[in-house]
Amino acid sequence: MPRSRSSSRSSISDRADGPIIRVRGLVTRLGGRVLHDQLDLDVRRGEVLGVVGGSGSGKSVLLRTIIGLMRPAAGTIEVFGEDLQTQSEQRRRQIEARWGVLFQDGALFSSMTVAQNIAVPLHEQLALRAPLIDEIAALKVGLVGLPREAAAKHPAELSGGMRKRAGLARALALDPQLLFLDEPTAGLDPIGAAAFDALIRDLRMALGLTVFMVTHDLDSLVAICDRIAVLVDKRLRIGTMAELLRDPDPWIQAYFRGPRGRAAITERAAGRSDG
């Protein structure tokens, strides 16, 4: 149901068919080292894609390249059917307003309260009256499951999990169609991480989001990702969990068949047979 909605919503502004993110022949270099070599990626509308890979394999760099914080050495990146590199500054701003990004530790502006953080994109992008901005900020605080008092607090007064939720609220301020998450559950305790997974799943259902998620958390991969992209040998192998389990690549086998991977997957299977 939400999938049909998101496609109807985007149909006025761009081609509804085709992937929401399309990467072709991407090459990135960092300090003389090649991180991605001829990498291709399609992210479909309405899906949750999890990106995994070893430490230093360039997962976060891939995310930062797609959202335009880093320049690729070669290749094209299209988001919403438009190549950002060839757009004018103004057009790029408009496109950037249609996605939200949650950085690893929330990246909240430390001099502002949570509500003011959420209000930043609203002030910058839209001409709204101040009371409405306050209402929207309070609404987003509730939407990500933070207590009301949290709105008036500064990031330094919040716990790590609450900072992530506040960061998510800011990322959702402009009701984006596309959400980028960088290690959303890193540093959270298992209960907090599971709650955050559930939150992402609920919001994705209700808001019709497409989610691009870099993660290390096998439980999140199993719980909320439709497809998984594994970064091995500077390229991506994309598939569902079942498909990847059959992949002969030794790193993929070690990742999913290792003790932690097995535990996460069997737990899920047990959960399925119960329900």
């Binding site: 939400p2 430390s110 709204l128 209402e135 929207i136 609404l139 987003k140 509730g142 009701d175 209700a206």
Partner: protein
């Protein structure tokens, strides 16, 4: 009421007010929808209101909130309100938003004159207390550093010589170009201005006395201390502040190292050793600037300049200036390090502490200078 994205039509039914919403109720058109909806408040009351969402094509959280807020406002006026014909696709969104529905914001109360006055007085009081508190804390930190210094003298092994030398290099050697240039220029300006005034009395030559006494006793050391407070005092605060933010200071404590030993003492000793040397250099450069000015612009040859300078100053003139340098250095280092260690975990706090550190250390330098002036006057030197 046709909006660019979403629209709202008001129709009077048999006994109810019907609001028909349609189009794209998205955050992009929220400003316009908000204006239309606020006009509803002035509308004559009906017994019931029906909000019909059949025409909605697109809805996001802000649109959903506007619908829910409208219902709540009518209900707040005691009017039964229902939301009808919710398109299937938007039902989960409305539910989700209703779950996190924020309370109606309370408008800030307007303050009367008496309250404003009271707030202003409170502000003055708070700031005064903050100032006194800062002075008390600085004194406490100074005591802590004194204890660490005594401990370091008893066990010289605790003093990190390499760090001290590194700090001397950063605070002293690296400051040579800027201190030298500024002192040279001050020497030039002082001589020229002095000679300009003294020429009226035919006493141009006394510009040399003015330069010698002024630079050696006051200006050289004061100028150097102020440059170093801006250069190194701020650097101390920013470095220690960033370490505090990264929990590096806490890490030191857990490794059994005293942050005062590791971070503060090398900076303190480095600056105490570097500032007198810098002052000597600054004095020399200022006198050089003055001598050049005398020679080129006033026609006083170098030999004449040297003789006049030699007659006007004694060895003690120089020492009385340089003597103050270690005290200035200590106050800059202690203030810089204390402000750095009291940074909280935010970027704003680092900036605020750095500003405060420079302001406080320059304030202290001038205060100590004034105290020395009084002391020397009492001692008739």
């Amino acid at each position: 009421m046709q909006g660019s994205g979403g629209w709202l039509e008001i129709a009077r039914g048999d006994d109810a007010l019907v609001l028909q919403a349609g189009g794209c109720w998205l955050v992009a058109s929220a400003a316009e929808l908000d204006r239309s909806l606020n006009r509803l408040d002035t509308l004559a009351a009906a017994t019931t209101v029906r909000i019909d969402l059949a025409g909605i094509e697109m809805l996001d959280t802000v649109g959903a909130w506007l619908v829910l807020r409208t219902r709540r406002r009518f209900e707040g006026r005691g009017i039964a309100t229902s939301i009808e014909n919710v398109p299937q696709a938007f039902a989960p969104l409305l539910d989700q938003v209703a779950k996190g529905e924020p309370p109606e914001p309370v408008p800030a109360p307007r303050l009367g004159f008496a309250q404003t006055l009271r707030a202003a007085l409170e502000f003055v009081g708070e700031e005064t207390f903050k100032f006194l508190e800062a002075a008390r804390e600085l004194l406490g930190f100074f005591g802590l550093v004194c204890i660490a210094v005594l401990r370091a003298f008893r066990e010289p092994a605790r003093l990190r010589t390499v760090s001290v030398v590194a700090q001397m290099q950063r605070a002293g050697v690296s400051a040579l170009p800027i201190v030298g240039l500024l002192s040279f220029l001050i020497g030039v300006v002082l001589t020229f201005q002095g000679a300009d005034q003294l020429r009226r009395f035919g006493a141009e030559i006394f510009a040399v006395d003015l330069l010698g006494l002024g630079v050696l006793r006051e200006l050289g050391v004061l100028l150097t201390a102020i440059i170093v407070a801006g250069r190194s005092g701020s650097a101390f605060t920013a470095e220690l502040g960033a370490m505090q933010v990264n929990e590096e200071v806490d890490a030191l404590r857990t490794l059994g190292l005293d942050p005062v030993d590791v971070l503060v003492l090398p900076r303190l000793f480095g600056l105490i050793l570097a500032l007198p040397l810098l002052t000597f250099y600054a004095n020399f450069m200022a006198l050089l600037g003055g001598a050049l000015m005398c020679w080129i612009a006033l026609g006083i040859p170098l030999v004449e300049f040297m003789r006049e300078l030699h007659d006007s100053i004694s060895e003690w003139t120089f020492w009385l200036g340089v003597l103050k340098a270690p005290f200035f250095a200590a106050s800059i280092a202690v203030v810089g390090c204390r402000r750095g260690l009291s940074v909280e975990r935010s970027a704003e706090s680092v900036g605020r502490s750095t500003t405060l550190s420079v302001v406080e250390s320059i304030f202290l330098v001038i205060l100590i200078d004034a105290a020395f002036s009084i002391l020397f006057a009492q001692l008739h030197i």
